[in-house]
């Protein structure tokens, strides 16, 4: 028996059958409460998103494809969720992460597709800028997509973030994407990601009192736009940062 087999065997020691281990009535009660809460939260989030984006859903405009509305924002706007004061891990402008509608025509990347090195078997996590169309917001024309480069070389979009007020090229941090959708049967969780506009050479987040460094790549079409993401090994997907800061080449905070 080799070491891996010994570890496997040891892990099975003490395993009991499930019968009577858990109170399944309590499980059902807890599950029903959660289901009700999700329904209420969904309704509340939709109402909030409408208020934030003045009742207009974000539309993803694919090159050569007709415009169609994407799914409405499913999470409350980051600026309205009560982030702690001080250094904030949210954008200075209010924005709403927008899940990508799975039946949408995939938006074409603007500029280079950024490879992250994060692999899921034959697939790799990638980030790319896509055109977005937010009516009444002429200053917002781009969003940042987290997708996967598939084994056949295609792109599978997973999670899109974009501003819903102001200007998508103003200096500073823009919307940060936190994938809090929970386990999904068809795609891996998306690491925390976003973009910063300015001469950032280093971006550091804080969570639970520790610092985590982001990986940075400049966008090929506008080098002021710095795309960043946090390795899932240092920041689990969906976990919100307590703070985030960007520094220039001389170490000055931006």
């Amino acid at each position: 028996m080799n070491e891996a087999d010994r570890l496997r065997a040891a892990m099975r020691v003490g395993e009991r059958s499930g019968h009577g281990v858990l109170d399944l009535d309590a499980v059902l009660r807890q599950g029903r409460r959660l289901r009700r809460r999700r329904r209420l939260t969904g309704a509340g989030a939709a109402a909030l998103a409408l208020a934030v984006v003045v009742g207009v859903p974000v539309a993803v405009r694919s090159a050569g494809a007709p415009q169609r509305p994407a799914a409405p924002a499913a999470q409350p706007a980051a600026g309205a969720t009560g982030h702690p004061s001080g250094p904030t891990a949210g954008p200075t402008a209010t924005a709403a992460p927008t899940p990508v509608a799975t039946d949408a025509a995939p938006p074409e990347p603007l500029g280079d597709v950024v490879r992250s090195g994060i692999r899921y078997g034959a697939e790799e996590r990638v980030f790319y800028v896509v055109p977005v169309d937010v009516p009444h917001l002429p200053g917002v024309t781009i969003g940042l997509m987290a997708g996967r480069r598939t084994a056949d070389g295609g792109l599978a979009p997973d999670f899109l973030v974009n501003d819903v007020v102001g200007d998508d090229r103003r200096d500073g941090f823009h919307e940060i994407g936190y994938d809090q959708s929970g386990p999904h049967p068809t795609r891996p969780l998306v690491p925390a990601f976003g973009y910063f506009v300015g001469p950032a050479e280093r971006i550091v987040g804080t969570v639970d009192g520790r610092q985590v460094a982001a990986r940075l790549v400049r966008w090929s079409e506008d080098p002021r736009v710095v795309i960043f993401w946090f390795d899932p090994a240092v920041l689990p997907p969906g976990v919100r940062l307590d703070g985030i800061a960007a520094h220039d080449a001389r170490g000055r905070r931006l």
Binding site: R12, E15, G18, H19, V21, L28, G117, P183, P185
Partner: protein, 165 residues
Amino acid sequence: MARGDAEFVEFARAASGRLVHAAFLMTGDHHRAEDAAQTALARTYASWSRIRENDAYGYARSVLVNHLVDGWRRPIREYPTEDVPDRHGDDVADEVATRRWLLAILGTLSPRERAIVVLRYYFDLPEAQVARELGVSVGTVKSTSSRALEKLRGVEAAAPEGTRR
């Protein structure tokens, strides 16, 4: 009871033993393990209509492991329990020794590393699937598994003769 509920209860009865045991391997705490498994099953039930036709067990396992990775940051240690397995003499002594040996190894790992080891060696998942479920790279899964085995060698070398497996 609705048909969906009956299906879920049957599923939960079949799955709960392994889920509780996996949670125990990740926490070293029987009570926390049961709480975590109950939470994972409740979340699974809340999404039952969406996942029942897919991999419901995979969903529950993934919820459990990610819940523990994100929420259980305390160091692992074994808590005393009155829950003695229904076995005799040497079996119980063997089981206790094995569990201590195993928790000694797992206790040196971070919650995420423990999750990798449990998914890889308890649930026997391929490396790519472990990476997908935890949102980490395959390289991280490989290096963590290798480190765990290395620690196993270290603990084994230091262990008294009677506790070696």
